[in-house]
């Protein structure tokens, strides 16, 4: 038996390699750099790594390769666009993660224990979040470009494991945070198991673990359809869990609420991009010819997600839970881009993912600003009169809410319009009409928050708006500018996406 040395295209893989390298250095920093210097060093290192990786992504735009890593990864236009989006979202999220107030001083200490107090007094910080974030980003970068099932699974675990950990690191309400982490971990493991089960069936169906091999079998139609259907169904369950579509959504409100808000922001935005990126590739290339067998199911899931997400969000009293249900509805909107199964749908989904991701990070950035003496205030009733206390925070939040609601002149509208028109083009009339109607329902609760912030008098209960640090302010401003620019003059970005977004097989 001979061993063939793998041939790797280092240039094309450089964005991922840089991230992994940065993450490993981050681990070393934890071991060798003094406690006092660690936060600054880690922040600089992480930001530098992400920027460098983004720069590399920019440099390889337009390149296409099926053999970058022995046929396990594929580099093409959508890959570059998705990776770029993930990196931009990661960069603006890092500004939030830099806020040490959000994280427990000592994750290993029991909540309320003497060790915890001691750690807090000595100014301890869990700077481990930086390398963890970089590992998660690496996983997210690989997920949408994986082109065989093993790689896809490795990437899935790579992005999930750091997130499970980080969800449990909240400084306030640590028990809830740890509970949410455990819930996320257990349900995530179930989903991974489903995913693997599906992958095994697909191997049984096609005799291949590569996307190209499975695709050939689907086109040829020679295999056992039962195996295909079972495999496809279980694989899809794994993916739908990650994006939080109904009925695999039950983790998201708890995790959104329990996790430290910067992590919620990062997870909500970047995971969606990565997971939908992978779904796009799988459904547009591998399963495209089995359209008849999955569109009805995905359409139904899209419709239920949109309706349930919007309806349940109405009754939420907690801003993070409300945003969680809104993200479920958005998962439904994004699924209509998968159903579209055409070039317009691909472009629209990528645009929507970027626009939604940026607005989400911006929205959660504002959430981190509203606090009282015991930490963040996420009870919506205490957001009353925020417009008076901090016009900056309230107007920015209002803008992000309007973008979520899809009001014209925000990025959300262009996203919704393009994704619905693409789905309609493929005959998914029911999905489009449900989408439009649930947008009307969703508008109700977004607007209710605007009413609370601007039209209701403040109650004096100690809720204050933190004067934003430069980093948080940067996140809010960058997200707001992107949201507005993509709403008012999206043509350059749309053209860029249209030119690049072509899957190679």
């Amino acid at each position: 038996m001979t061993f063939t040395a793998p041939v790797l295209s280092y240039t094309l893989l450089s964005p991922i390699l840089i991230l992994l390298g940065g993450a490993l250095i981050g681990v070393l920093v934890e071991a060798f750099v003094s406690k006092a210097l660690r936060p600054v060093v880690q922040l600089t290192l992480t930001l530098g790594t992400l920027m460098l990786s983004l720069f590399q992504v920019w440099r390889i735009r337009g390149e296409q390769s099926l053999t970058a890593a022995m046929g396990s990864l594929v580099i093409d236009g959508p890959a570059v666009l998705l990776q770029g989006s993930i990196l931009v979202i990661a960069i603006i999220s890092i500004f939030l993660i830099a806020d040490a107030e959000q994280f427990t001083p000592l994750a290993a200490a029991l909540p309320g224990s003497a060790e915890e107090r001691e750690a807090a007094q000595s100014g301890n910080q869990v700077t481990e979040v930086y390398p963890l974030t970089l590992f998660a980003v690496s996983g997210m970068m690989i997920f949408p470009i994986a082109s065989d099932l093993i790689m896809l699974f490795v990437a899935l675990e790579m992005l999930s494991l750091p997130l499970y950990l980080m969800a449990g690191l909240s400084r306030r309400r640590r028990l809830a945070s740890q509970e949410s982490a455990l819930k996320y971990f257990l349900l995530g493991s179930f989903a991974s198991a489903f995913f693997l089960f599906g992958a095994a069936y697909l191997y049984g169906y096609s005799g291949s673990i590569t996307f190209a091999g499975i695709r050939e079998s689907v086109i040829g139609g020679s295999g056992n359809d039962v195996l295909l259907l079972v495999g496809m169904a279980f694989l899809t369950i794994g993916l739908l869990f990650k994006v939080g579509a109904v009925p695999f959504h039950s983790w998201s409100p708890d995790v959104y609420q329990g996790a430290p808000t910067p992590i919620t922001a990062f997870m909500a935005a970047a995971t969606k991009v990565a997971a939908f990126g992978a779904m796009l590739r799988i459904f547009y290339t591998v399963f495209a010819n089995a359209e008849w067998s999955w569109t009805p199911i995905i359409s139904a899931i899209a419709i239920i997600s949109m309706v349930l997400g919007s309806l349940v969000a109405i009754s939420q009293r907690d801003v993070k839970r409300m945003l969680a249900y809104s993200s479920i509805a958005h998962a439904g909107f994004l699924l209509s881009g998968i159903i579209a199964l055409n070039k317009a749908g691909l472009d629209a989904t990528i645009f929507y993912l970027f626009a939604y991701g940026v607005a989400t990070v911006g929205g959660f950035a504002v959430v981190t600003l509203v606090r009282d003496s015991s930490g963040e205030v996420t009870d919506l009733n205490r957001w009353k009169g925020l417009g008076k206390r901090s016009p900056f925070a309230a107007s920015a939040f209002a803008l992000f809410l309007l973008a979520f609601a899809g009001i014209p002149l925000t990025s959300g509208f262009i996203g919704k319009f393009s994704i619905f028109s693409a789905a309609y083009e493929n005959g998914a009339t029911a999905v489009v009409i449900t989408g439009v109607l649930s947008s009307a329902i969703a508008a109700f609760f977004y607007i209710r928050v605007i009413v609370l912030m601007f039209f209701t008098d403040a109650v004096e209960d100690g809720t204050a708006v933190e004067i934003p640090s430069i980093l948080t302010r940067a996140t809010v401003v960058i997200s707001a500018v992107i949201t507005l620019v993509l709403g008012i003059y999206p043509a350059p970005v749309l053209d860029f996406i249209t030119d690049l977004a072509i899957f190679i097989r």
Binding site: L402, F417, E425, S439, F454, P490, A491, L494
Partner: protein, 502 residues
């Protein structure tokens, strides 16, 4: 000269200047707002002078690529109908600013924010009538809800935030139905020769009659909510009652016209067949609006609600005129839109002054104003007479044209609608009698009459009402060719009156 984009840029520039002013200098903000709106009015009049009235094509056309990958252009252009409405909007804007000089003081936010919102709204009002790209129209149609929402919720009175939310949700719901129709049109245009939002090209799309009917409904319901036509009207009285008088003028006078304008520009031209199919139903809705609005107005105890109900009745007339499919009714409907803007403005502004002086908006709190404040009382009287379409005042001409035009095709509807005029006499004369005549009610003895600023604001409105009442032909000459064009494009010819031919 790029007139229309200039008109849209001017208020934005004014808004930017006001935004840059210090918060404390409220007077400068007001003066800048007044100067800007006056400049926009002057520019509009200058543009209108150059309008070729016998040319039924779009004029002052401009087009810039906006989102080329979706075939979206920033395309502007006006026909006579749009021109008349833009003229009305830009004349009303300075009137509203001058009349509501102190309106912004009771608000949640600063005075300068109020004027920034008003000016941004003015840009959108011009844009919504001038847009010839369906996407651009929709964007402005939805986006203009936001400044109005903040104007009602931030500066209104009473249950202002509830009213603002009701207004926004109704309009958004309608808008989203329209969006579904727009998406369908866009996709169809892609299948028939390339994605476009150009109105001309969209009107040539081939589609089955079922599709056309469904898409028509998407548009019509959006416009019927906006207008508002019974049974989509319930948001209006609340919004009008809670908004400041100036905002109410813009809301009822201009924004609601987007609904009726949209029926002509979009429902009739894009879906001529479906329009014919639904005409019988819409005519019934219009007649119900006329009579129902009038009855509600008779029963109203609050003066602002009363004016809102009269508007529902008037929008019934306008809708009836649009769908009667005769050129007289069509001209009448357009003229009605213009006149309604001014008579409602006069009513709302004077009512606003009365309410501000008395501190109450209940009709029975007033009485004998004629003796205490003669100028204010006379202004209210004339505005009221215009609202009930007294001959010699502008509304009479348009109401008459609508009724005559409707009668030739729908005599029964026209006859029932005529009762609306009788009811109008009731709903106007009752409050006029209660508020203006009779003994002066306790608490009203010391009310001040209109000051110079208020007189300056109301004078041009009353002048327009009176002059156009006696001499409407300058406006009608502009409107008539466009109205005929709309009707002939629909494939209708005016029925020849049979009476007197024997």
């Amino acid at each position: 000269m790029k007139w229309l984009s200039l008109l849209m840029l001017l208020p934005l520039a004014g808004a930017a200047i006001i935004a840059a002013l210090p918060k404390s200098n409220e007077k400068a903000a007001k003066q800048a707002a007044l100067a800007t709106t006056l400049a926009v009015m002057a520019a509009t009049i200058a543009m209108a002078v150059g309008f070729q009235r016998d040319n039924v094509d779009l004029q002052f056309v401009e087009s810039y690529a906006w989102i080329p990958s979706f075939g979206i252009n920033f395309a502007l252009g006006v026909d006579a109908i749009a021109l008349v409405l833009i003229l009305m909007s830009t004349i009303l804007a300075p009137v509203v600013v001058l009349a509501g000089w102190n309106e912004a003081h009771g608000g949640r936010w600063s005075v300068k924010t109020f004027y920034v919102l008003i000016l941004v709204l003015e840009t959108m009002m011009i844009g919504v009538f001038a847009a010839t790209d369906l996407f651009l129209f929709y964007v402005i149609f939805e986006a203009m809800l936001i400044p109005v929402y903040f104007l009602i919720g931030g500066y209104g009175t009473g249950e202002r935030s509830a009213a603002a939310v009701k207004f926004l949700l109704y309009s958004l719901f309608g808008g989203l139905l329209m969006l579904a129709s727009i998406i369908a049109l866009y996709v169809m245009s892609g299948a028939q020769g390339g994605h476009t939002f150009d109105l001309d090209k969209l009107s040539q799309l081939q589609m089955s009659s079922t599709t056309q009917n469904l898409l028509f409904l998407g548009f019509f319901i959006a416009f019927a909510i906006k207008a508002p036509v019974w049974p989509f009207h319930t948001w209006l009285p609340d919004a009008a009652k809670s908004a400041t008088p100036g905002t109410s003028v813009l809301l009822l006078g201009v924004l609601d016209k987007v609904g009726t304008f949209g029926m002509i520009r979009y429902c009739l031209t894009l879906f001529p067949e479906a329009s014919k199919t639904f005409t019988p139903l819409i005519m019934v809705l219009a007649v119900i609006s006329i009579v129902y609005g009038a009855f509600l107005a008779i029963g109203a105890k609050d003066i602002k609600r009363l004016i809102a109900y009269t508007s529902i009745s008037h929008f019934g007339f306008i809708t009836m005129g649009i769908f009667a499919m005769t050129s007289q009714a069509q001209s009448g409907a357009t003229l009605y839109m213009f006149n309604h803007g001014f008579s409602t403005a006069a009513l709302f502004l004077v009512a606003g002054w009365m309410i501000a002086r008395r501190g109450s908006s209940t009709i029975s709190d007033f009485g004998g104003l004629q003796r205490v404040t003669p100028v204010m009382a006379w202004s209210f009287f004339i505005a009221g007479m215009s609202s009930l379409a007294l001959p010699g005042l502008s509304s009479f001409v348009s109401e008459f044209l609508v009724l005559v035009g409707t009668f030739t095709r729908y005599p029964v509807h026209a006859i029932i609608a005529t009762f609306g005029i009788v009811l109008a006499a009731l709903y106007i004369l009752i409050p006029v009698q209660k508020a203006l005549h009779g003994p002066t009610t306790a608490g009203n003895e010391n009310l001040k009459d209109l000051n110079l600023r208020e007189k300056l604001a109301i004078a041009p409105v009353i002048a327009i009402i009176v002059v156009l009442g006696f001499y409407p032909s300058p406006l009608l000459n502009v409107i008539n060719p466009a109205a005929k064009h709309v009707i002939s494009q629909m494939g209708f010819t005016d029925p020849v009156p049979s009476i007197g031919d024997k």
